[in-house]
């Protein structure tokens, strides 16, 4: 069981992620109404939000240091923030501003942050080999840092998954593979894509531990991740963790979600893990209602400041598009 302090910290992470993304969601539709035009508004392009999946980011990243490497996917904000990415630089990048992580060149699917050794990729499963490489470097450099690779259940049917797990297992690298099973890959449900019910069972194909966290519960995730991270740090090799989590929103903003039943959507809303976790912390006395409210306020302030920073930052010079092709 995590300490009360850790529980409060996970709660804090989850809610700042949620608030950040809710705010981005609102802003995303600025300039896109009444006629939705993906290219319009302050935040154009695709937007993949992670509402519902905060427990995974918070539970896993609670064990990490900034020098640990994290690779994420097209849905990266929750992990990026939980691993400590500067929210201002993140917001500015999403706004395509000069002050963003990549001076506006990357955008929301291509966030790279040397300060937290964070990277992500818009190509399904292709962030996984990078994580293997980080861990390989750490081993060669004699560092006890580790690499964590987040990916969706849809990614687990891609060849890169297989190659990455085999390599990490073969070379006994310090990688924790975290599968966020939110049951959907855009409109394709997991059982129409994956031959077996649980990806954690695939760990056996590489001789590594496979752990199923059947609930979207930060505490259970924290526990599973704790073991895997510790094993990785002490040179015990990789692990695979699968979390059954929830995608509360559409695949991307603007997704009409015609493939999901109303019942499913209602159920998801009801069992929102963030609300449930907060209730539990209050019920068990880990958090007072006042503390909870203060946490929300504090997060609100942080998000507002980040958005304000992003909005007021200058756009990059158009001609700077030609820079940074080569170092």
């Amino acid at each position: 069981m995590p300490s009360n302090e850790t529980l409060r910290e996970m709660h804090r992470q989850m809610l700042r992620i949620r608030l950040f993304e809710e705010t981005i969601q609102q802003i995303y539709f600025e300039g896109k109404t009444p006629a939705f035009d993906i290219a319009a508004g302050p935040v154009p392009g695709e937007m993949h939000l992670a509402a519902g999946q905060e427990p995974v980011a918070a539970g896993v990243c609670a064990h990490l240091r900034p020098t640990d490497a994290v690779t994420a996917t097209h849905r990266p904000h929750h992990v990026a923030l939980a691993h400590g990415m500067d929210m201002k630089k993140l917001a500015a990048e999403i706004f395509g501003k000069e002050t963003g992580l990549g001076h506006g060149k990357g955008g929301h699917m291509h966030l790279f942050d040397p300060a937290t050794n964070f990277g992500c990729s818009g190509i399904i499963a292709e962030g996984m080999p990078t994580a293997v490489g980080h861990a390989l470097a750490f081993k060669k450099l004699g560092r006890d840092d580790i690499a964590v690779s987040f990916f969706g259940e849809g990614a687990a049917n891609q060849g890169a998954f297989h190659e990455s797990l085999n390599l990490a297992a073969l070379w006994k690298l310090g990688v924790v593979f975290v599968c966020e099973d939110n049951a959907w890959a855009i409109s394709v449900p997991k059982d129409k894509a994956t031959a077996i019910p649980n990806n954690s069972d695939r760990a056996a194909a590489y001789g590594i531990p496979g752990v199923l966290v059947a609930d979207n519960d930060p505490v259970a995730i924290h526990e599973a991740a704790g073991e895997a991270v510790a094993r990785a740090r002490r040179g015990g090799g990789p692990s695979l963790i699968e979390v059954k989590t929830d995608r509360l929103l559409g695949h991307f903003e603007g997704d009409p979600q015609l493939y999901r039943s109303k019942e499913e959507l209602a159920l998801l809303k009801e069992r929102d893990a963030l609300r449930a976790f907060e209730r539990r912390l209050i019920d068990t006395g880990v958090l007072t209602a006042a503390e909870a409210e203060a946490a929300w306020k504090q997060a609100r302030a942080e998000v507002d400041a980040a958005i304000e920073f992003a909005r007021s930052s200058p756009s990059p010079e158009p001609a700077s598009a030609l820079q940074h092709v080569f170092a």
Binding site: S187, V188, A321
Partner: protein, 338 residues
Amino acid sequence: MAVETKRLLTTSKAISEAIAQEMERDPRVFVMGEDVGVYGGIFGATEGLLAKFGPERVMDTPISETGFIGAAVGAAISGMRPIVELMFVDFFGVCMDQIYNHMAKIHYESGGHVKVPVVVTTAIGGGYSDGAQHSQTLYGMFAHLPGMKIVVPSSPYDAKGLMISAIRDDNPVLYMFHKGIMGLGWMTPNPRATAPVPEEPYTVPIGKADVKREGRDLTIVTVSLMVHRALDAADDLAKDGIEAEVLDLRSLVPLDREAIVESVKKTHRLLVVDEDYRSFGTSGEVITTVIEGAFDHLDAPPARVTYPDVPIPYSRPLEQFCLPSREKIAAAARQLMG
């Protein structure tokens, strides 16, 4: 004689109609890909097909492009005629071996004995801030690699006719549709993405370019969404008395070199407009085609307006700086006129 009501369709509906008609005609045709079923394809190319043909003929796949594109190759060899979608062309790197070492080469390696009639559909193009991994065109890269036909339509009419040709072709065809020509409700409106399309099936030949606007002063050679930009620029140029001919290649493989050369022999000037990366690609090949076929007819060195040799940036001002535009095309044309 009855007044003919011209039926208007978006490009995406023209494509899905072409597929539906061919599926009705030929039971061997089926569709595979990510989100081609209920979703109807992220860019609408397979809209309505699941409802019409059921999940056996319109198959959602796992995210396993090597697996299912390779499966299309095998199914084609064993007598089917698969249409398989690679959601964005930018994802080619996860499955290029199947596309290029298998789909494109088996017919040749077999000495002509094995046919591989696969149509790969894929979305190309940027301009809406989708970043470096979701905005490329890349047709020049595919056109460099022999063994596949490459189709790049610009209009609803061509899109339907080329799709029917692609499905009926006994060769692998890469069918590349630009997101900006699809007429999608959620993309920047494009009036040229909705146009008259006959209801009955018809073909547009693969390998034949099309003069989308006649002109006498210079030839603008281009494809896909850039045809629209070139037509806009031609309108502007016309106000200054410059009459640009706009040649829409429609296919890159086979390349209609004759049409390019003939047009330049008439206009004596060539401007290539290319949304793909500038170097080692389409623009150089079109210019070289003219050098080889009409060198002595040129009144000025051929010029090109292209995407520069940089990955696609996310931020709008950066991306727009890179993309060929109506203004850049018109300016280059004026410069070419001297």
